[in-house]
């Protein structure tokens, strides 16, 4: 086979492998992620102070958070949340890194949690008692020694252990399910941050209002914000909405990639057959001569198939490398949604290249085997 045909064939097969790995990877991702669309939590919202990105947290003062909470209709549960990430705490003689979460006693209503002991109460919050609840992993680490936690100079009594998922992807800055200590937000401000309620940052306000739509809540905020001087830009997000928006965007992009990959796959397949056929046509006399010298049709089929399979193997290796690079780039852009590219995918790529090579070699190999030696040798060089 001429080097040009060989190179074209290798590139064609590599293209096919890359396209197929994308089709499989993207298809798998679309299949796995599509069920996540539409999981909006009815009546549950976040109010946050931010720009256009739902993940950008500018924060608000506790004073502003309390003002906003006061605008909400009666019977609406809400909880302000302020977080200190990776704060050093002391349990007995040991120091430990944990998330310290200042929140309201209503925080538990937002999640389905098991509580051993209790969460801090409304009364404890109002009287600014130094009490806290911890996640179960911290309790399991320290066991019955976990009676008090010292944060800074303040000592907090541990009144309960919470167990369960406390995370809403895309809407919350942190997963509170593990390694977290919950304490009344006012105490958090005064004893941990050493700030008053006009300073510090409340990350968000969780709102549980089954009778309100997102629009209703936005209208309540707009109506009240207009009366404030230097009104902050407060936004409302339904739980699951950020996820949904991001997911739909990613899935649309992946669908486009899927379609492009499919077209590339078809073109690559066509390209492989065309090049292989052209390579056979180009060596019409050679195959005719070989037939004249005693090559049986099976010998020629074997010879052509071996040639194409050799290219397919090289194309497969090349394709796997390129697919790995493409995967890395896609991983960079669509990160957590992307199906992993692993050894199985790589091996599948090479096997696929061989199968494609074998299938596409059938037509040209058969054409080569059917060349009439008399006609082929009669042709002018």
């Amino acid at each position: 086979m001429k080097p040009l045909y060989r190179r074209l064939l290798i590139v064609g097969i590599a293209m096919g492998v890359v396209a197929t790995s994308l089709i499989i990877g993207v298809g798998q991702t679309l299949f796995l992620q599509r069920s996540r669309i539409g999981n909006l939590v009815s009546g549950a919202y976040w109010i946050y102070h931010g720009g256009d990105s739902p993940n950008t947290i500018y924060g608000m003062s506790l004073d502003l958070a309390r003002t906003v909470q006061s605008w909400l209709p009666k019977g609406t549960a809400s909880s302000a949340v302020a977080v200190d990430y990776g704060r050093s705490i002391r349990i007995g003689p040991e120091f430990y890194q944990s998330n310290v979460v200042g929140t309201d006693f209503t925080f538990l209503q937002f999640f389905e949690l098991e509580v051993e002991g209790r969460f801090f109460t409304e009364e404890e919050q109002e009287t600014r008692k130094r009490v806290c609840a911890v996640t179960s992993d911290i309790y399991e680490l320290f066991g019955s020694d976990l009676k008090f936690i010292t944060i800074g100079d303040a000592e907090f009594e541990v009144v309960g252990v919470v167990r369960g998922e406390m995370y809403r992807q895309g809407a919350m800055p942190l997963d509170y399910s593990t390694n977290s200590v919950f304490l009344p937000i006012e105490v958090y401000y005064s004893d941990i941050q050493n700030e008053d309620s006009l300073a510090g940052l409340v990350a968000e306000i969780a709102v549980l209002a089954p009778e309100l739509t997102k629009g209703d809540l936005q209208r309540v905020l707009s109506a009240n914000l207009s009366s404030l001087e230097n009104a902050p830009s407060l936004k409302v997000l339904q739980w699951g909405e950020a996820d949904r928006t991001e997911l739909v965007r990613v899935l649309l992009a992946l669908t486009a990639i899927f379609l492009v990959a499919f077209v590339v796959f078809l073109l690559a397949g066509l390209n492989i057959v065309q090049i292989a056929s052209a390579s056979v046509y180009d060596r019409h006399r050679v195959f005719g001569l070989k037939a004249a010298l005693g090559a049986a049709p099976g010998d020629i089929v074997k010879e052509v198939s071996q040639e194409i399979l050799g290219c397919a193997l090289q194309g497969g290796y090349l394709g796997v490398v390129v697919a790995g690079i493409v995967n890395t780039l896609l991983n960079h852009y669509v990160g957590k949604y992307w199906a992993a590219f692993n050894m199985v995918t790589a091996l599948a790529g090479v096997v696929l290249a061989l199968v494609v090579g074998w299938i596409t070699s059938l037509i040209p190999a058969r054409k080569a085997a059917m060349i009439d030696p008399v006609k082929a040798l009669r042709e002018e060089r």
């Binding site: 001569l289 010298l293 005693g294 090559a295 049986a296 049709p297 010998d299 008399v374 040798l377 060089r381």
Partner: protein, 237 residues
């Protein structure tokens, strides 16, 4: 060895139908050097192609080593071409991307000879033809005479019983052509092979033992060649 009875070959259909061979009868025994002469288009090459199992007769019976060739499958015909025949073509038909040795050993690939013996067998036959020193060259580095010797070496590498040479001197000058015919004569005299050679050249044909003269697809004369030059005349002339 080989026997043709009433062999005809028709190409095309209807108005464009051409009868390349008409009712040809022929018997050739081992050790014969047969020259086939005739004008262009008289059916020489068609006859050689049918004898060499490259082509199939439209009608008639061709018996080779006691077997009816028309009953052979494509695979069996390929095997017969590989084992029983050696082909020498006017245009040499060497593969440009293969070395001399690779060209010569090409038929061994299809004959079941183990790969480790290809080189030994190829060099052996090149040695016999006095061109072993050319084994690593490529065809475009050889003269016409050398290329035809390589083609003969390729034809002999499987030690076939019949050599079919279609105008083997057609692309060579007179002196070189004479040398090539001498090589073919040696094959008949020393190795008792059958050589069937198609030529326009009376001088070449004169080296054969038997001469078939063809006109319009028929053998019009089948005679022993007298010593000296052979002349060919078309009946119409």
């Amino acid at each position: 060895m080989l026997e043709l009875n009433g062999i005809s070959k028709v190409y095309g259909q209807g108005a464009s139908q051409v009868e390349a061979l008409r009712d040809v009868d022929l018997n050739i025994s081992p050790g014969e050097f047969v020259a086939v002469m005739g004008t262009s288009g008289c059916g020489k090459t068609t006859l050689l192609n049918i004898i060499g199992c490259l082509d199939t007769a439209t009608s008639g019976i061709y018996t080779l080593q006691g077997k009816d060739v028309s009953r052979l499958s494509l695979k069996d015909k390929a095997r017969v071409r590989n084992k029983t025949f050696g082909f020498v073509f006017q245009a040499f038909n060497l593969l440009a991307e293969y070395t001399v040795l690779e060209n010569v050993t090409l038929p061994l690939r299809y004959s079941g000879v183990p790969k480790r013996r290809w080189k030994e067998q190829g060099l052996g036959v090149l040695e016999r033809l006095g061109i072993a020193d050319l084994s690593s060259r490529y065809p475009d580095q050889l003269s016409g005479g050398q290329q035809q010797r390589v083609a003969i070496a390729r034809a002999l590498v499987n030690d076939p019983e019949i050599i079919i040479a279609d105008e083997p001197t057609g692309n060579l000058d007179t002196g070189t052509g004479r040398e090539i015919v001498s090589v073919l004569c040696d094959l008949v005299e020393k190795q008792k092979k059958i050589v069937i050679l198609a030529t326009h050249d009376g001088a070449v044909a004169s080296r054969a033992q038997r001469l078939l003269q063809m006109v319009d697809g028929r053998i019009i004369d089948d005679s022993t060649v007298p010593t000296g030059a052979v002349s060919f005349s078309h009946p119409a002339e």
